[in-house]
Symmetry: C2
Subunit: 151 residues, 2 copies
């Protein structure tokens, strides 16, 4: 996520213009889909949900770098376990670029809360693993007995 925070980044250290990403300022839906390995449906869905708002070239969607940056944030958010709704809220906050400090504090809180959530999930998973492991031990034991007893 930290990388995505640049949000379009002013002074990026001279990205070598190798692929389409280099200097392109607009993207089609297909291009973004390929770049981020998501489906067209997903992009449209995100638009429906108000996460991205591409302009139109006639009827076709036309994404600019800002749209692309938002998409990046969305995917990052998903990766760290935020729901699309939560992501939507945060992006909206991000857009109200007035009380910067307040926004940052809000975001910081969200992030810390999410870290807590994740840590809880993690410990749940750990206990589940433990329990399953113990069960495996027991069952293995039973199996050995049965196999020995069998014939």
């Amino acid at each position: 996520m930290s990388e995505a925070l640049s949000m379009d980044g002013g002074a990026v250290p001279a990205v070598p213009s190798n692929d389409t990403t280099g200097k392109k300022t607009t993207f089609t839906i297909g291009e973004l889909a390929r770049e981020f390995d998501i489906t067209l449906r997903t992009l449209r869905f995100y638009e429906d949900k108000g996460l991205i708002n591409p302009k139109r070239d006639g009827q076709n969607r036309l994404y600019n770098r800002r749209d692309r940056a938002r998409l990046k944030l969305v995917l990052m958010g998903k990766k760290v376990g935020f729901s699309l709704n939560e992501i939507c809220d945060m992006l909206d906050l991000y857009d109200l670029r007035d009380g910067q400090v307040v926004q940052l504090r809000v975001a910081l809180n969200k992030f810390n809360q999410q870290i807590d959530v994740l840590q809880e999930q993690k410990s749940h998973i750990e206990t589940a693993i433990d329990e399953l492991s113990r069960t495996v031990e027991v069952v293995s034991g039973m199996l050995k007995e049965r196999e020995a007893a069998e014939k």
Copy 2:
């Protein structure tokens, strides 16, 4: 889960008959709901799904110790991340009490697979936590700057 494997347990080490659990052999839906802190709806749902099959006292459900044990297994299974369908399959296997050894092997495989799944989930969560933590660092930095710059 290991505890639940006893499935009704033959020689349980003399459980002191303090609460209803002690010697009771049948249970109403409400009793089980309270004991395991689930809703009636949930119990009925599990029945619909074929996870539990209580007898009837007239129209009312009447659970015996075996039903209760199955319920325990179900809840254990959920706890370690199995879906109700998976649990259903395993319980069915458990009921085909013929080729014991085979069943045990199948179960063992499931368990080990689930451990793998859980471990993957765990590492996903760990990377998410890392990423979020880094982001928090960055945002904290930004905040300090802003606060310093602000008047």
